[in-house]
Symmetry: C2
Subunit: 556 residues, 2 copies
Amino acid sequence: MRKPKRKSKLKIIPLGGLSEIGKNMMALEYENDIMVIDAGLMFPGEEMLGIDLVIPDISYLLENKEKVRGIVITHGHEDHIGALPYLLPQLNVPVYSTRLPHGLISVKLKERKALEGAKLNSVDYGQPISLGRFRVELFPVCHSIPDAAGLIINTPIGTIVHSGDFKLDYTPVHGKPTDLSRLARLGAQGVLLLLSDSTYSELPGYTPSERIVGETLDRVMADAPGRVIVTTFSSLVSRIQQVIDAAAKHNRRVFVVGRSMTDIVKMTLELGYLKAPNGILANIDELKKMPPNRVVLVTTGSQGEPTSALVRIANRDHRHVHIIKGDTVVLSATAVPGNEALINRTVDALFKQGAQVLYDKVAKVHVHGHGSQEELKLLLNLVRPRFFIPVHGEYRHLSLHAQLAESVGIPKSNIFVLEDGDILELGPNGGKVTGKVSSGNVYVDGLSVGDIGSVVLRDRRMLSRDGVVMVVITVNRQTGKLVGRPDIISRGFVEPGETKDMIDKSRDLVAKTLDHSGVRPAEWGYINAKVRDILNKFYYDQTKRRPMILPVMVKV
Amino acid sequence: MRKPKRKSKLKIIPLGGLSEIGKNMMALEYENDIMVIDAGLMFPGEEMLGIDLVIPDISYLLENKEKVRGIVITHGHEDHIGALPYLLPQLNVPVYSTRLPHGLISVKLKERKALEGAKLNSVDYGQPISLGRFRVELFPVCHSIPDAAGLIINTPIGTIVHSGDFKLDYTPVHGKPTDLSRLARLGAQGVLLLLSDSTYSELPGYTPSERIVGETLDRVMADAPGRVIVTTFSSLVSRIQQVIDAAAKHNRRVFVVGRSMTDIVKMTLELGYLKAPNGILANIDELKKMPPNRVVLVTTGSQGEPTSALVRIANRDHRHVHIIKGDTVVLSATAVPGNEALINRTVDALFKQGAQVLYDKVAKVHVHGHGSQEELKLLLNLVRPRFFIPVHGEYRHLSLHAQLAESVGIPKSNIFVLEDGDILELGPNGGKVTGKVSSGNVYVDGLSVGDIGSVVLRDRRMLSRDGVVMVVITVNRQTGKLVGRPDIISRGFVEPGETKDMIDKSRDLVAKTLDHSGVRPAEWGYINAKVRDILNKFYYDQTKRRPMILPVMVKV
């Protein structure tokens, strides 16, 4: 008698979003089939000097190109779709998403001239998608953008539920609340694995409903003596809807300011995500004619972006809009980590111009789009998975989410806290990490993708601290003797003019070092190091600074 | 009949701390007398590349040297005392403070070799200090360091109250609560002007008592299965006391780890600010012999400082301490703005090592040292000043504090929201800003104070973004003809090796530009600009990056 063939293991491989927040991407692999969930980008951290964007490392997918059946997108935020323009030209597989992300992806690919040939598919919630042995279905979740989805994935070893980015808002402004009933039925039937959003696993309690913000906006529009200027993320369509609704109620007209906000309002009106009563949207030319207490402006700039409409307004640098007495500015957003200083500067400038400013610290003008601890526990309780993997978060978020899962009864041995690149092999009775694929940050800087490495970043870091000193040494090719005096040029090291003496002394020092002997070509490396050492020491003694020193030898 | 001589106006001149948080300093001037309140430093913002510290501009004080009677210090935090080592060598006036700041200032001056000749005076609360026409008295306030004070200043035109940094903790761990009764009596007698701390004017309600943290620490020490590692600011002596108290209660011994923590514990024990039962403090050598559940470690590193004990521990890089199973780490501090990323990385690393980590987002492990809105209103209500100036804060904090003052009945015309450098002239019946003194950031970078200006910072910013390209052009002194091929060296621009082709092409481009004609010395500026333009364009086309381009001409 032959033993029944053992089932293969399912491989779960996070490629982004589990070591740093952002650039979400995950691969599921079963035998000859790979499906990918999301393809996001991350904005660079402070230490990634000069970098424009960060995307996931997809070398594992490229090495297994023939296995990749498609990419399923959970929703249209940059950290879930932003890598597609860089990925699809290398890996042109079908992409599946609901309607709004489909629209946003098309725009994005077009901008990067990568739309042609792309296989984009718009699917409805509940419509089955076949990706080799995977059978996927999207279900509605509530998040800070319409048409957000979680995934139900049928695999040969059991059902997987992926939460996407979600919160439980029973009174959302847009779309359907998270489909808890469907999840409860699945839970009753038996779910092998839950992957769930950990972004706000640090926060106790429940994330408040977006309705809270609606109430604040309503009060502001009613009470503000003059104009109301609301700034938010342009993708936060539900917030823009709330602004329009409150404006309509209080007989104010709405002016959309700034290109990206205008574009998204136009697109979402056309697609039907945004609804505006006739005549409420006004053209900027009409602004001057309107009494201030009948005006609402909607702009971008909630992150203090220097070129945004709000920042230009705050700096009296906007073509059409200046702050006038009686203006109320509402920053309906939270700071993306790293942007705090820019935002604070904008708020300060608005106060200085005489505006009243409402922001998250002083008023209920924003709620975020991710579930807090009680919501995460509720999802775990409904889905009742055998195994659990916290996703979307840094290590502390994942650890805390794992602790929550343990607290609702999932055995510790069935919870896997993974990092990007880990290969988890999962069977019906257990799983373990069996290896690692190439993962990490791929830097986009200007035109190039991935050619920036640690050397460039280390040099930029060094240059940013104490600047650069160039030393030009001219030697006679035959004799190796110094020709003339070494030339020294610095940038970012010392204030020019005030330190001529020191620079002169350092030129003499280099000359003295090289003068007493000729320089043979073979010694160039040695001389280079020696000049660097001598100047390093001299400058450090004089200034306690350590500029990057670059000697160049010119042979004549 | 002669008209009675009109009283002079009092000048109030903020020199630091009213445009950015930190580097607090203010001058009060009446006829021939100037008194100064605090002399603090600020840690550099992200955009101040390579800068070590920022101190206030004291040129106004130096110009009026003969008028300056002394400096009164409210408490021993860096943002109130840190500029003294740079200031006293230029302006050696008496400094007055209570005992703990006196000790901290002495240590600081000694480190910078500025102690000799300094006129430091330790004064008690209530002890009168005469500074020309000013008569000053310190009164106790509750803050996150012992011996904190507010000021009562008698001037020829009335009484001024300065809150210092304060909160209202009725059950402080250390020292006396803020002396509300004294302030109420003063208020009844009539106060001309209140200057009050605006740092937390954004926060509604009351700042919780430090007792809350004591309760958390108590619970942690009772329940933790293994060692407890507490990290906090070394100046937060009351927190260290709470750790010792909780450890004593739960039969744990306390190990102080890290030099700055050890130094401050030693000093505060000697001065009597810290009390430790006999035998509770243990030497690090004893650590190995102790069962984990009898151990508490106290360290610095709450800001994720790369060289701190906690960060070394998190990175398995500490000589004596490694994370072991069962460890609980308590970060008993909040992030100083800008440090969030470093702190998050440390928390992540600790979780990865298997520690349980408690920090401000997930547990009540810290309360801050400044009053929230209700406390600020209470102070305004007790002191009942005729005039009000919000101090210590950025513009939004000051604006919100001004709104609070208005809400408790101070007329808007009697509230002055100032910025650094403003000269407010105040009389018994009103005040107005009549001018501006030189103010702003003085940068300390390495040895030098104040010689870093906007040129150096702009260059560092540019270098940090896309690096630097040096172009060495050798020409014949007589003919002006190019000798050899131009040399190009780059750092922080493109990854070396992979881009040799592009660099080669750019060398040819420079050669072609210069080749067809000789370069006359007079044209050097023109050629320099031309080489920069050509390379700028070429590199931007190739890479969409804009490195700093530095042409150097060598004449032979």
